[in-house]
């Protein structure tokens, strides 16, 4: 029937007087062979037998368990009007939970079906508290439900699977039973698998015997799969009723998500406040101070140091404009608008505004999250301000590059160095604030500033936070 090609095979047959040719691919053949092999080998592997063993053991356990739980439950309900009945009912639910635990560990060790433990039983204090907790224990009640479903299901499974095995054996030995053999039954049904002339139990015909043996073979091969079907339904039942309460798990997930969101928004508010406090407010105070000084100088009765006044007003003027700009930034999305076009543009703007000539190099494949961009920007701004104020540098350089999932910001200058995270006499103050901000997103800040310079500040930030 089959062709001889090495790879794809052609199947030819006569159907209804016509020649039909089918091409079967190599893979299809291999798959078919595998399926046949599995079917033939399966009864002789370990798996159906462990499944059967599990079925027997867990079924027995469930049967006894249901008997106990059922009896206590009936007794509990019957006596519910008394305190004793309530206690019995609570005990019943607690035992069901225990049985559920045993069944879970049986499934784990025998079937390698590992079901997560449900929420542990937490009793309120006192005996009454214990009673209340036990009666409200969802896990316990779900275990009761499991037992109630499991026992009939197990009985049905026993009946079907055992019948198949039994029938298989009976069918297979049928030809050898001699003329006294009764017609093999099917699922225990009296009339048997093959009717043979009413009640006439004559010696079986040859074809009849072959058909019965074939049937026996099919039963034998099918039995493990039927068994597996029953076990698989049991697995589903166990996962649904003995595992963690899906509702409770969902509540937990949501609680976590909510607390993260709350934390994040609290952190955002804190950051805004910090931005306002360190930036605009400080700038406005400094501005008011300069104007105050200028005002006093102008009020002096003797000669007025006009150059100094002009200088003060100039500084105040600049400060006012910066404060306005910063305030606008904060109001508009709490991050510098320049960041809308990306770090490169924002840092270039920053460098252009810096008092010390500053070069910029940005090399990022992916855009960091807005929070990281903002921190990078504010770090650069503060570091450049430090350079301008303390370093006596003639040049500064900002580089911002991606290293894996991290962003590395390096700000270096050729100034006098000696910057510290906390210094006596001089200052570097803002650095500590920056460190705090960087830590908030699990980043790192490293300062190298030997006396005499140069100063190199390296900030590593995760690309997303």
């Amino acid at each position: 029937m089959m062709g001889e090609e090495a790879d794809d095979r052609e199947v030819r047959m006569r159907l209804g007087g016509r020649d039909v040719a089918l091409t079967v691919t190599h893979e299809q053949v291999a798959m078919a062979k595998e399926i046949v092999r599995r079917i033939l080998v399966e009864p002789f592997t370990k798996r159906p037998w462990t499944e059967l063993a599990f079925y027997l053991v867990s079924g027995g356990l469930a049967g006894l368990g249901l008997m106990f739980v059922g009896l206590t439950m009936v007794a509990g309900v019957a006596l519910a009007i008394t305190f004793f009945g309530v206690a019995v009912l609570a005990l019943s639910v607690r035992s069901a939970r225990g049985l559920g635990g045993w069944t879970r560990s049986l499934a784990g060790s025998m079937l390698a079906e590992h079901i997560d433990d449900p929420e542990p039983f937490v009793a309120k204090s006192g005996f009454l508290g214990w009673l209340q907790s036990a009666l409200r224990d969802r896990v316990g009640w779900r275990a009761v439900g499991y037992l109630a479903v499991k026992v009939p299901w197990t009985l049905l499974g026993f009946y079907v699977a055992f019948s198949l095995w039994w029938d298989a054996v009976v069918c297979l030995i049928y030809p050898f039973m001699g003329s006294g053999a009764s017609n093999p039954p099917l699922f225990g049904i009296e009339r048997g698998l093959f009717f043979q002339d009413g009640n006439n139990y004559g010696p079986p015909g040859f074809f009849h015997a072959v058909a019965v043996v074939l049937c026996g073979g099919i039963f034998l091969l099918a039995a493990p799969w039927v068994m597996r079907g029953f076990v698989n339904v049991d697995r589903m039942l166990m996962r649904a009723l003995l595992g963690p309460d899906p509702m409770a798990a969902r509540v937990r997930t949501l609680e976590q998500a909510r607390s993260q969101t709350v934390d994040a928004s609290a952190a955002t508010l804190r950051r805004i406040e910090r931005d306002l406090h360190d930036g605009t407010q400080a700038q406005l105070v400094a501005l008011a101070m300069r104007l105050g000084m200028a005002k006093e100088k102008l009020g002096q009765p003797d000669e007025v140091d006009l150059d100094r006044v002009r200088e003060l007003i100039d500084e105040a003027h600049r400060g006012a404009k910066e404060a306005i700009a910063e305030l606008r930034d904060i109001a508009r999305g709490i991050h510098p608008p320049a960041l809308d076009i990306g770090l490169e543009g924002a840092l270039a703007t920053l460098a252009a505004r810096s008092a010390v000539p500053t070069g910029v190099s940005v090399d990022l494949q992916a855009r960091p999250t807005p929070a990281i961009e903002a921190i990078t920007y504010f770090c650069s701004a503060e570091l450049l301000a430090n350079v301008a104020q303390h370093a006596q540098a003639s040049r500064a350089f900002i580089s911002c590059a991606q290293q894996g999932t991290w962003l590395r910001l390096v700000v270096r200058d050729d100034g006098c160095g000696g910057a510290q995270l906390s210094t006596v006499g001089s200052s570097s103050s803002g650095l500590a604030g920056l460190t705090d901000r960087v830590h908030a997103v699990d980043g790192r800040l490293n300062l190298i500033s030997p006396p005499g310079g140069p100063t190199v500040v390296t900030v590593d930030l995760p690309l997303s936070a």
Partner: protein, 218 residues
Amino acid sequence: MVEALRVAIAEDSAILRDGLVQLLVDRGFVITGAVGDPSALRSSVAQFQPDVAVIDIRMPPTFTDEGLRLALELRDRYEGLGILLFSQYIETRYAADLLSDNAAGIGYLLKDRVADVSDFVEALERVAIGGTALDPEVVTQLMGATRQIDSLSVLTTREREVLGLMAEGRSNAAIANALVVSEGAVEKHVANIFAKLDLPVSDQDHRRVLAVLRFLES
């Protein structure tokens, strides 16, 4: 001023710190240290023994009340060191902590006050020589929160003004100056206030402050 007052500054905002240094140097003060965090101020004060320390309340590492704790610590360690707390917010609680047993050489001002340079410098000098300088905001908050409303209502408007200025730590002369009245008139108001509120009379300004604050807090 015979000798220039020596000032240490702890302020974590570079802009403000530099501005303060500029202002105080301009006014003839000697700056012994301008630092950005508590531990730096601690060592700076130990080394240079300034007359007065200007301390920002919110400083690294936690940016909460480092400055306040540092101020309490320094006040206990260095007798005669004036301490001016400097903040963008007024917390009456902080004022209470600070003035719990002694108001001598203590100041608590909003940062905004530097805009009025002379007032600020005057407050700083007062603190440096053992006086008290409380921000009007602190006094307003205390007067607003006090349960002594009934007692305060026996005071005239002018007397209440004098009470407020007294609580800020001002001397009779300064109060007279501020209200544009004679010092004698102020003395009369003060005597009336103490009599009406049944406060212990004291000739030292900072004790007077404490008495008034006790009254407002009670």
